[in-house]
């Protein structure tokens, strides 16, 4: 049985923890709003991009002039996985969810006898995947110092991936990130970047019907467009990740705050009980002392 003083100390420390988790929850909520706004603001670009891409892809068709980034190397031997996670922990199962999803994927590919290479974006994913696949991780991108993720960050990753592709380091590239469904639900998602999956977005009726002039020409534009599209996809994934991380952090911290509250209640109860018992004990001592006289 802990003494009264011990209980008091524990109550005080749990209260302090609760204050911290509460503050973290509020910070996460504010950041979540900003992240959501950023994701929202980025949407028009990626939407129009896929519309334009669908349009040009249609015009170029699947003949030989289509760039290699779109058709792939024609092989399926080496897979590159780009795993995007958060830089910080304390956000529930967010990071481990993505890592587990990626890990299952790696195991599956290895089971099929394929070579796997991994690029980690974000520290947490690296920490988790390093345990199992240290030899496979060829690169890591650190975004810890980046306050607000900009297109430049995504573009840099995109260029790095394309550079590797040009050197023939891999055949297929897949991006792993967490799709932001709602504050309480983030779904780990895999997105194939190279060869670029045929865009599914329907071009608007007007632009589909129009006969376009291409300047300089469709192939050239496509060459310019596809690397850019890869960067845009990465950018979108990073933004979704930030929003998801903040959502997960918010609900994790909310839970922690609630648990701390429960714990304080319990501790206060046993504190009061013990205090009462002590008072009773003292009273009995006094009374029995008086009776003995």
């Amino acid at each position: 049985m802990p003494s009264l003083k011990d209980l008091k100390n524990r109550i005080a420390s749990v209260k302090a923890t609760q204050k911290i988790t509460k503050a973290m929850k509020m910070v996460a909520a504010a950041k979540l709003r900003r992240a959501q706004e950023a994701a929202e603001a980025a949407r028009p670009y990626s939407q129009r991009m896929s519309a334009v891409l669908a349009n040009i892809a249609q015009a170029v068709g699947t003949d030989d002039s289509a760039p290699r980034l779109m058709t792939g190397t024609g092989q399926d031997k080496t897979h590159l996985l780009v795993v995007c996670t958060a830089e910080r922990g304390l956000c529930g199962g967010f990071n481990s969810q993505i890592a587990r999803f990626a890990r299952d994927h790696v195991r599956k590919l290895q089971g099929q006898g394929k070579t796997v290479k991994i690029i980690c974006v974000g520290k947490k994913g690296y920490d988790i995947l390093r345990r199992d696949f240290n030899a496979l991780i060829i690169d890591r991108v650190d975004l810890r110092d980046v306050k607000k993720i900009g297109f430049v960050n995504a573009d840099e990753i995109g260029k790095r991936i394309i550079g590797l592709f040009d050197k023939g380091e891999f055949d297929v590239c897949t991006l792993f990130y967490s799709e932001f469904k709602s504050v309480i639900s983030q779904v780990p998602t895999a997105l194939q970047l190279i060869p670029a999956a045929a865009p599914t977005a329907e071009a608007s009726a007007e632009s589909a019907a129009a006969i376009y002039d291409y300047e300089p020409d469709a192939g050239e534009i496509l060459n310019d467009l596809i690397p850019r599209n890869i960067s845009v996809q990465i950018f979108r994934a990073l933004l979704e990740n930030v929003a998801g991380e903040m959502g997960a952090k918010m609900s994790a911290m909310d839970n922690a705050t609630r648990n701390a509250g429960e714990m304080i209640n319990k501790l206060t109860l046993s504190y009061n009980r013990q205090r009462q018992a002590q008072i009773t004990k003292e009273l009995i001592e006094i009374i029995s002392g008086a009776e003995a006289l």
Partner: protein, 134 residues
Amino acid sequence: MADFNFELVSPERLLVSETVSEVVLPATDGEMTVMANHAPTMTTIRPGIVTVKAAGKTTRYVVFGGFADILPSGCTLLAESAVPVEEFDRTMIERRIEEARSHLANGDHADEHKTRLEQFLSELTHLNGVLVAA
């Protein structure tokens, strides 16, 4: 004069979405003025200045590469990065020039890639000159 819808979008946000009468784009093959009922055209953009004219008012934006999707009813410009000229900071372009230079100097690039880089660099330098004069 007939008006049409113009949208300037950067990856970070939608910058402009309004009805305008005339837009001048720095297309790869030369400056290009878009007005209403333009033939459907798709073109890449080089670093330069976009001039937007709406109701007698002219706004200018600095863009760094991208492409434009032009339809009779509207024009969408997807820019890699875009800022209004007034807010433009010269250090930005200098940083880019620096980057492009070091990129060109460092790696051993394929010829085609190298030409493209050199072209990009010269476009940036040119743009820098224009902006300093302005």
